[in-house]
Symmetry: C2
Subunit: 410 residues, 2 copies
Amino acid sequence: MESGHLDAPRFFGILAVILLGAKVFGLLARRIGQPAILGELIAGIVLGRSALGWVDPRLEGLHLLSELGVLILLFAIGLETNLGQLLRVGGTSATVAAVGVALPFALGFVACRLMGVAHLPALVVSASLTATSVGITARVFAELGHLQEPEGRIVLGAAVLDDVLGLVILTVVFGVVNGNTLSAASLARTSGLAFGFLIAAIVLGTLLIPMVWKGIRKLDPAGASVLWALLLALTLAWVASACGSAPILGAFVAGLLLHGSEEAEGIERGITDLGHLFVPIFFVCVGAAVDVRVFDPSQRANWPTLAIGATLIVAAILGKFASGYAPWWFKGRKAVIGVGMIPRGEVGLIFAEMGDRGKIFDSKLFGAVTLMVVVTTFLAPPVLRRLLVTRGPLPSGGDREGIDELVTEI
Amino acid sequence: MESGHLDAPRFFGILAVILLGAKVFGLLARRIGQPAILGELIAGIVLGRSALGWVDPRLEGLHLLSELGVLILLFAIGLETNLGQLLRVGGTSATVAAVGVALPFALGFVACRLMGVAHLPALVVSASLTATSVGITARVFAELGHLQEPEGRIVLGAAVLDDVLGLVILTVVFGVVNGNTLSAASLARTSGLAFGFLIAAIVLGTLLIPMVWKGIRKLDPAGASVLWALLLALTLAWVASACGSAPILGAFVAGLLLHGSEEAEGIERGITDLGHLFVPIFFVCVGAAVDVRVFDPSQRANWPTLAIGATLIVAAILGKFASGYAPWWFKGRKAVIGVGMIPRGEVGLIFAEMGDRGKIFDSKLFGAVTLMVVVTTFLAPPVLRRLLVTRGPLPSGGDREGIDELVTEI
């Protein structure tokens, strides 16, 4: 991480450039009907090593801020996730989620092995294929006005489930990446730890947090609840990491535990403001870490990246699209569900970033996974728009508020 | 700055400890009638190298976040400062401010030279004596319900003026510290640059910002104005630094320029949330940088620090207290004004930190200045409380909102 020293004025300058780039490209992306996250990724590509070279995500100060960005994003997603609905989610969503995780994973793993990718990187690549971006999915359905229809609800439920499954897979992969050899025992151990942390944090949190919060309300009646909420997210992220789990799983659980609490509204407001600042830093840094020159087809050396990327894209689309047809009893439009599950968005990028950071991926694989994430994320909104007949013009972003605005915008 | 690598989970853990410590000690401080900032400083002392050693403010990621904290604080102070009132401020406030800058500076400089302190550190020490904390001052008068009375208004006006003067002095000192030799020409040059940047930024900003903001409102109607505001603060901070001025002067001007704008309310809300998170990081880091073992009177080696500190405290109190009697025509309670000007608070600490960071201070001088800041900041609230007969119990913090809450709490 330590690639040079960063002083405060330069740090302020880089932050300004990141925020301006994220905002401008985000607005441009929305102008052409795409989610803002894509604009932020492109801003990163423009500002990063592919082009201008102004943003180096390996600078420690920047890296830590972008990690704070993912923490806030996952906390926000947890905050809007109802644990009860998550547990009581219909068989339909569960089936879609399960098939939507298993099939892309299997397809990706087989494809990777056939292409000669080693065991460990093949595992991480396949894990990245299992992701569904609850943020992108929720935003697209909401923007098209179909969030409350059966297809929208099923996709949302499956995406949320997928998010938890994805986080567990992430944790497992995270454990494996951090030196544990890839054995059945280590897989069992890391997934046991991930589920163990998840269950322990949820059970203890559900019991303790209302009491703790009551004490806080008494001792600090004028205080900002968002500060205490963030404190919980930071603490659980640290505990998760100490348990050998992924820090962001802790942040997600913190959000989950505060969902529906008395303070949730104030927390959402504050987290939205923090998210507007930090979440784009994460996406811009991820974009800045991509070297798009490996996508240039005029360079023969890039053909492997493009070939692997194309294969992954096929596996990614087929696997998720098929999951829409898995609940055979469902009478609605299965294609809508299948397409709704396709975008990998931020979760896919977290995998890509982890593979890159842990030196599991070479630049070819990192490029291929990023290409897959970018293409699947780009593809879903326009296709869904064609599948669902829109009623009049798209509503502007102005009527959405708080956490919805945050999670659907980023 | 580069003292070891900081990974994300450890960073989250340190942030959690800082926020919890700041909150707990801040609440304790307020419980005993002191401003929260003192609790945060004490939290830093407990968590830093004096005691537990958990928080090392020299870690780059932490240092940059704490710098972001000062930037946000100065932006918030600028945001609540009316430029017109600043320019039209009565002769009373101006006299108090001028005498309150000149007298402590002169007393401090003479005292330092008599004690054998070299020219440059004596200059920085004297500069730290000129500060008046607008945050502390405003909060104490507001809490005692005297903000709208003549004494309160005069002190507030003088403190705000003092803040700008202090920022210019800071900029001058900052320029001198950064290698410029201490000559009349370099003093003129750096103060010219500081005033030049100030004037240019205010004039250009007043002309351009309404237009730019109009464009933003058109292009990004659903956007968070706080993001654009922060972008302005970061950019001006960077420009200020590029002009050889202090970055926080740019942040202050950014706030000044947005004061009273249509978006000010939304910006204040967002900045308050950001400030709750970042500003305590700054104060905790400053506290963590103090080694209180140099205050231990049982160690003979500490006597110089305590002697210098005691001298500075006398100069600090005398200089500001006398400034209350400078406007001889004023018929009100001059002692209230004098005492109201005493607390150095965050501005004094910025000087102390700069002297430490620029290796101008040895640990003795840094300890002495910190002791002076801590004592003057501790002293003012209880003395003011005795001078102003309070009407019933102090209002709780719950009835204050937004930026007032932020600036008065920190």
